[in-house]
């Protein structure tokens, strides 16, 4: 048992650093800057630890409740990288909003720890513990700017709804335990007998909980309000990092214990996917606030991810993973631009504030142009390839209806991305924004833009990495 600990160094390291940072914060006055930087360094160190211990085969630890395999490592690397970038780009924003406190980065570390546990979980209870650890940190983060009503409202809203979904999820877990006699994924899959209605109910409840976490329609209601109300840095975190973890557990849950019950859950995932794609595309058209728009667009993108998941084959899962990786990069770029829209210590987040940006800030506008066309899925940007892989997998399984819906929603959603481009490039200019960006912001914007733009030069790299993930 004790040698199992050798394989979870990253998790242990991150837990120890959370405790260390908490103590440091208590005993050292005015240490928020130090702690912020230290947590970035610790995250990088955790990343290095993960890279340092690639397992030779799949490891099942602690009585098969915890798994380290290629898939979990890939998803953890995604989570950590995006976590690091979120911290790197948002320090200035936090300082200006006077919420640059020690708890902020520690909470982010906590939720990342929760996500890592979620990603590796191979047991319903471990999964639930990880989920709650990340959710509880996110509740606090959403209301971090507590002097603002909107932020507190966002936190409360997220807390109430998320608690409800967690309750449903837990109820689903108990049903599954009742019908299969185990919480372990492998044992569950061995104990499934034909057509147990209770088991199907259990799956449905858990899917509801998971759909809530990735904000798929019809469990998306919280997303726009929470995205808008939370501080922008937290919105960025919401938009990218928890989705990776939720997708990982989604895949694990559907394809390990319940892979043989695909007839039961496939139709649910298809419905979630179609509803999210259409709703995300249509509802975003009328939005005026950029953060709200991102919320709706991320609902639409999650629809595509679910489309890949619903295929029931490895290829579909891989396409979903590729999609979410590219989605991460695009959102990081988009939010980096949002952080640059600052004038006299006020951040602007309405779409109208982008008006005529191209005259004053040609380079930012060019990056935004590339990112937005990529989000719309126009070749040769990376976003096109993301959609291409999904369609490839979906059409292979002859799910033409899903493919056509996806295409139509692509065209509809192209409209609102184009509208932003129109405002940036065709509309009259406004006052200049401040240009005192810090180096992290510049790096993350240029890096994500270049990745998106030049993806087509080496498209096989990501595919080759992901193609080693074999769940089924």
């Amino acid at each position: 048992m004790i040698e199992n600990l050798n394989f979870i160094y990253p998790e242990i390291f991150i837990s120890l650093s959370i405790m260390f940072l908490l103590l440091l914060g208590v005993f050292k006055k005015n240490s928020s800057g130090l702690i912020y930087n230290l947590s970035i360094i610790f995250l990088i160190f955790t990343l290095a630890l993960i890279f340092n211990y690639p397992p030779k085969s799949n490891l099942y630890l602690f009585n098969n409740t915890y798994v380290i395999d290629y898939f979990s490592i890939f998803m953890k690397i995604l989570t950590l990288c995006s976590g690091i970038f979120v911290l790197v780009v948002s320090s200035k924003y936090l300082k200006i909003f006077k919420i640059f406190q020690i708890e902020y980065s520690i909470l982010i570390l906590c939720s990342i720890l929760g996500m890592m546990v979620m990603i590796s979980s191979y047991d319903l209870i471990v999964f639930y513990v990880g989920l709650e650890l990340q959710s509880l940190s996110l509740y606090v983060l959403a209301s971090f700017n507590r002097d603002q009503t909107k932020s507190s409202e966002a936190g409360l809203k997220y807390f109430v709804l998320s608690a409800l979904s967690s309750g449903l999820l837990l109820y689903g877990c108990s049903l599954i335990y009742g019908f299969t006699g185990s919480t372990n994924f492998i044992t569950i899959s061995e104990n499934i007998y034909s057509n147990q209605v209770g088991l199907t109910f259990g799956i449905v409840f858990i899917l509801v909980g998971l759909a809530f976490k990735i904000s798929a329609v019809p469990f998306h209601m919280w997303a726009p309000d929470v995205y808008e109300g939370s501080p922008t840095s937290v919105t960025l975190f919401f938009a990218v990092v928890p989705k990776v973890a939720a997708l990982a557990i989604f895949i694990r849950f559907l394809y390990v214990p319940f892979v043989n019950m695909i007839d039961q859950w496939q139709i649910i995932i298809i419905f979630l996917s179609i509803a999210s794609m259409i709703f995300g595309a249509v509802a975003a058209i009328g939005q005026k606030n950029l953060k709200r728009l991102v919320a709706y667009s991320s609902i639409g993108h999650m629809g595509f991810v679910l489309a890949g998941l619903s295929t029931g084959v490895n290829e579909g899962i891989q396409s979903s993973i590729i999609y979410i990786s590219i989605y991460l990069v695009m959102n990081l770029g988009l939010f980096s631009c949002l952080f640059m829209m600052k004038r006299n210590d006020t951040y602007y987040e309405s779409i109208e504030d982008l008006s005529g940006l191209s005259k004053n800030h040609p380079l930012i506008s060019l990056s935004l142009l590339i990112i937005l066309f990529s989000l719309a899925g126009i070749p040769p940007m990376a976003g096109f390839f993301a959609k291409f892989y999904i369609f490839k997998a979906v059409i292979k399984e002859s799910m033409y209806f899903l493919a056509i819906t996806g295409l139509l929603s692509t065209v509809i959603s192209a409209f609102y991305y184009l509208r932003i481009i129109k405002i940036i490039y065709f509309d009259p200019e406004k006052e200049k924004y401040d240009t005192d960006y810090n180096i992290g912001l510049k790096i993350s914007l240029s890096l994500s833009t270049l990745l998106i733009l030049l993806y087509f030069v080496f498209p096989s790299m990501l595919v080759e990495i992901v193609s080693r993930i074999n769940i089924i």
Binding site: I378, K392, V411, L418, K422, V463, S467
Partner: protein, 504 residues
């Protein structure tokens, strides 16, 4: 011959646009250095493509200068190559681009640097479309062209530019996404998206009709065919002159090329099945749109509608599936590329001076701008298809092909030639002749040197190919023969197998 000449044709404009991006030049220096870079790269590209034409062996129908690179895990390979059909379109693209870059001096006033970048990116994407030999690569270039064109219309266009830009983008995107589904489906049916391999393998007959329709939805919007042509007049009217030139001369040819290369080549059975549909849509475009063009009071809109009618001839010719018909279509496309570009430039010349595109503004220009009147005369006659201009060769061959297949269709199509004469000559009469009523017109000057240069550059090949079309026909002949042979072979084997099933 190992030098990757096609890839360098694609890459050179991109390198040029990168230079422009980083070169220091703004309104204070009148964007001199950007202009030089753009003109230099586009001319260099033109000379490379002329050299390519010289190297091109037109006695064989195989694809030449083929380059293949491992790209997407072997699932899709970067593969380019040309045959007799594509080389002319590449030449057209590289010929029109430098001319349109020279013409920006007169029409584009703001943000010239970005404009030149957009034009060069556009050029490289269009060359990519014409020489790609893989469906996915083709789609990549085909769709990528939307981005620069959207910006060209939206940033530098006229008053209703935003509406037009959106209409253009969404219409074409909607058409193309269906093609994407079809491409992926082809991959799963045949296991490859390599065009040459697909030509050999053929695609199962039972899928062909649906796939053909998916490709058609994309090409019909791009052509544009009636009834999805409505984006074209809007886009043309609002685009800056250079944008219109590019749109009319090159972008419209994508679909014609796509029909020949993909619809006929990959889906012969379906093409045969849908020929009546194409015939009727083409005839509606020729007759109905010509009548619409007759009633326009905006010069640019009139020429835009005439483009739709001309493209109707092109689609008609392609689907006659005769040697003459397809040859005629290609020559018609080349000629339309030259003539419509020139006509839009002519409208641009007047618009730069008076800022009006309405026909009623003008009249009696001949006494003020005699040189202009001569040039416009040449292009008006070429648009009508008068013998001695390249327009005649194209239309004549198309009608010749059509007569072999159906007398009625050809008779109706011939009406289009008469209508074309009506609207073009009437336009010419109202603008050039008559009394000089508008006092404003006295102030305007005749063509300046760069305008004369551009317009004569377009007029010379128009006249030359009108009298001596052999260079064009020799280039395309063998490839088209091969295409038609392959088509007939596929069709007969399909019919035979169908008869077998009927007998059983």
């Amino acid at each position: 011959m190992n030098f990757p000449i096609l890839s360098s044709l694609i890459l050179l404009p991109l390198v040029g646009s990168l230079f422009i991006l980083f070169v220091k030049s703004d309104a204070s220096t009148n964007y001199q250095s950007s202009k030089y870079v753009a003109i230099f790269t586009s001319f260099a590209n033109f000379f490379i493509s002329i050299y390519l034409w010289y190297l091109f062996d037109n006695s064989i129908s195989d694809f030449q200068f083929v380059e293949e690179k491992h790209w997407l895990n072997g699932f899709v390979n970067y593969k380019v190559g040309i045959d007799g059909i594509s080389i002319l379109f590449i030449l057209l693209t590289t010929f029109i681009t430098p001319l349109s870059i020279i013409s920006v001096n007169n029409s584009i006033k703001s943000r010239l640097k970005e404009f030149l970048i957009a034009i060069l990116v556009m050029e490289s994407l269009m060359i990519g479309v014409f020489c790609s030999l893989d469906l996915v690569i083709f789609y990549l270039f085909f769709e990528g062209g939307l981005i620069p064109m959207f910006l060209i219309i939206g940033i530098w266009g006229g008053e209703r530019r935003i509406y037009s830009a959106f209409k253009f983008f969404l219409f074409t995107l909607l058409g193309s996404v269906l093609m994407l589904v079809a491409i992926i489906t082809i991959y799963w049916i045949s296991g490859t998206t390599d065009v040459i391999k697909l030509y050999e393998l053929g695609i199962d007959w039972k899928y062909q009709n649906l796939l053909w329709l998916a490709f058609f939805s994309s090409f019909a919007v791009k052509t544009p065919m009636w009834p999805v042509h409505t984006w074209l007049p809007d886009a043309h009217v609002e685009a800056p002159t250079t944008g219109s030139v590019f749109l009319a001369a090159i972008l419209l040819k994508l679909a014609g090329y796509g029909f020949i290369r993909f619809s006929l080549g990959l889906f012969p059975v379906a093409s045969n099945f849908f020929t009546p549909l194409i015939y009727s849509l083409s005839l509606i475009a020729i007759v109905f749109i010509s009548l619409v063009a007759l009633m326009q009071d905006d010069m640019k809109k009139l020429i835009a509608y005439s483009s739709v009618a001309h493209m109707g001839f092109v689609t008609l010719g392609i689907f006659t599936l005769t040697q003459q018909g397809i040859e005629g279509s290609i020559i018609q496309m080349i000629s339309h590329g030259l003539v419509s570009a020139a006509l839009f430039l002519c409208v641009g010349v007047l618009y730069d001076r008076t800022h009006s595109r309405l026909i009623s503004t003008y009249g009696g220009i001949v006494s003020i701008m005699p040189k202009y009147a001569v040039v416009l005369m040449i292009f008006t006659l070429a648009a009508i298809g008068l013998p001695g201009t390249s327009g005649f060769i194209g239309e004549f061959l198309i009608l010749l092909g059509t007569f072999q297949k159906s007398f009625i269709v050809a008779a109706i199509a011939s009406l289009g030639v008469i209508f074309a004469a009506a609207y073009m000559l009437w336009l010419y009469k109202r603008v050039i002749f008559g009394n000089l009523i508008n006092k404003e017109l006295f102030k305007i000057s005749d063509l300046n040197r760069s305008e004369i240069f551009i317009l004569w550059c377009l007029a010379i090949p128009t006249l030359f190919f009108g009298f001596y079309p052999d260079p064009l026909i020799n280039t395309i002949e063998v490839s088209i023969q091969d295409l038609i042979e392959m088509y007939d072979l596929n069709l007969t084997s399909y019919l035979e197998s169908n008869q077998d099933t009927l007998i059983k």
